[in-house]
């Protein structure tokens, strides 16, 4: 079942027939719906000026699930991710059509305040970007401006619990007053995750969160993602297929702005149904 149907101009069916795979790019292959969605996206189109970057994408983001978005550079996966907390609003020429709902609320409703939206749908970027403040203040900043703490004691407990949930507490508890920028790359990224957690989000968006990290720091983030899934919904864009296979329950494959295939991660990485998905994940994509 799917709702996407728009044909993509210029999206050629590039490869020869293969047994057991679909080749048409007219509609998304796989189940775009989930039983318990945290966010629902329907017929989402994104334009940068005249250029269309996302074509009629419909997809549910399941509650307490990790969904990976994969695809070649320029396929629109990060653009789509940024639609989920209206980060694309910061780009003047960017225009989004279609519907993205969280808890029955259309997040593109004209009257909606994006500040609480971005607290509810937090984001972690490719490069760790701690504030040029102390470790403590990096975490405390969000709860302070969103009025989530009643007093210093409460704020302290938010800072501690956020750092603990991000698996960083033991490493930094004795140096909370030192600059966040003084931490290692992996620690900085976990600090950014702790910062996102501190404002009690429902969804965390991660845009290639491990691409600047070494394998050990990557493993710690992946372990953290798995733990965070219990309380949060996570959408992650990654170029590492192995990472997508390791951390997510569902995987969505994008190609030239279209959602080509979505499905259970186990299925996508063992028996993808679309030839483009298969060519990409097996390294055949020219």
């Amino acid at each position: 079942m799917n709702e996407t149907s728009a044909a993509t101009p210029g999206l050629a069916e590039e490869t020869e027939a293969a047994a057991g795979t679909v080749q048409s790019t007219d509609a998304t292959v796989g189940e775009i719906y989930v039983d318990d969605p945290r966010m629902t996206c329907r017929n989402v189109n994104v334009y940068y000026g005249e250029k269309q970057a996302i074509f009629d994408v419909s997809l549910d983001i399941g509650k307490n699930q990790v969904i990976s978005m994969i695809g070649p550079s320029g396929c629109g996966k990060s653009t789509f991710l940024r639609c989920l907390n209206r980060m694309n609003d910061t780009i003047d020429v960017c225009r989004v059509t279609g519907q993205i709902k969280m808890d029955e609320q259309d997040i593109y409703d004209g009257g909606l305040d994006v500040v609480p939206l971005r607290a509810s749908v937090g984001m972690v970027f490719q490069k760790p970007n701690p504030f040029p403040k102390s470790i403590y203040d990096n975490i405390a900043y969000g709860p302070k401006i969103h009025g989530l703490s009643d007093n210093k004691e409460h704020l302290d407990s938010i800072v501690e619990s956020s750092l603990q949930r991000a698996g960083l507490w033991e490493e930094v508890k004795d140096r909370l007053d030192q600059p966040g920028t003084g931490l290692s790359g992996g620690q900085q990224q976990r600090l950014c995750i702790a910062r996102a957690i501190a404002v009690s989000p429902e969804v965390i968006l991660m845009d290639e969160p491990c691409s600047a990290l070494d394998p050990i720091a990557t493993a710690k983030i992946e372990e953290l993602i798995d733990e965070l899934r219990e309380n949060f919904t996570i959408a992650i864009v990654t170029h590492s297929m192995q990472q997508a296979a390791r951390v997510s329950q569902r995987t969505a494959y994008f190609h030239l702005g279209k959602l080509i295939e979505v499905g259970e991660t186990d299925q996508i990485f063992t028996s993808p149904r679309h030839k483009l998905t298969e060519d990409y994940i097996t390294g055949r994509f020219g």
Binding site: M241, Q242, F269, T270, S271, D279, I281, T282, G283
Partner: protein
């Protein structure tokens, strides 16, 4: 090179997968040849040739080990996904089955030595007859399974799986027929038991060919059919063809 192995951006990856598939064919041809030679030694009453068949089994063991080493390296180096992963798993399982084909052929060669070495009492030709018939059928199954693997041919894979039913029926029929020799003359017991073991070895070779047919279906469709009903598998494959 076929559509399962070709087309990688990193050409060495395709070449490595191709080499694995070549090992399967080398091993398949060797296994089939071992089967034919082992049965021929019985026909020729030639224990010396049987000894050569037994010695030659080492080649199959060597390829088995070589393939495992290459598979381990390939998994570590390439982290295969989707059809590459299925291809590697299929190769590993197929190689393993073919190695056992060699073991079964060796059992038949051992029987030749047991019967004809050092002037022991050979069985009557009449009792041996079922071995020859069954070996031809099993040879055909094994050959068909290798063609199915090479050509990624689902119809041939299904045909091999279907043939295994007839093989089992033939095996049961042979057991009934052989039991009459014991009823006629209890001195036949020893020979009949040995021949039943040989028939069992052939029946197992057919089972390995059937397994390879199942692996081919897994390789092409991604569906594990090892414990599924053949009619249901066939219907599903046909339905998928129509849908495409």
């Amino acid at each position: 090179m076929n559509e399962m192995t070709s087309g990688h951006i990193v050409k060495a990856y395709s070449a490595e997968l191709d080499h694995l598939n070549e090992l399967v064919l080398d091993m398949g041809n060797l296994g089939q040849d071992q089967l034919r030679r082992a049965v021929q030694t019985l026909k020729d009453e030639d224990p010396k040739a049987a000894g050569q068949v037994i010695d030659r089994d080492r080649k199959l063991n060597d390829i088995d080990i070589q393939a495992d080493e290459e598979i381990i390296r390939l998994i570590a180096k390439r982290q295969p996904m989707a059809k590459d992963l299925r291809d590697i798993l299929t190769v590993q399982k197929t190689i393993s089955d073919l190695e056992r084909v060699g073991d079964e052929a060796r059992k038949i060669a051992n029987l030749t030595i047991h019967f004809y070495d050092n002037g022991k009492n050979p069985p009557s030709k009449e009792i041996l007859h079922d071995i020859y018939d069954m070996s031809e059928f099993v040879d055909e199954m094994l050959g068909l399974s290798l063609v199915a693997f090479t050509e990624l041919d689902l119809d041939k894979a299904l045909e091999v799986i279907e043939m295994d039913k007839k093989l089992y029926e033939d095996f049961r029929g042979s057991l009934r027929r052989l039991s009459t020799f014991i009823m006629e003359d209890s001195r036949n017991v020893g020979s009949v038991v040995d021949i039943v073991l040989a028939l069992r070895a052939l029946e197992r070779i057919g089972g390995h060919a059937k397994n390879i047919g199942g692996f081919v279906i897994f390789l092409v469709t991604g569906k594990d059919v090892r414990h599924e009903d053949i009619q249901a598998i066939s219907a599903e494959i046909e339905a998928n063809r129509v849908a495409e």
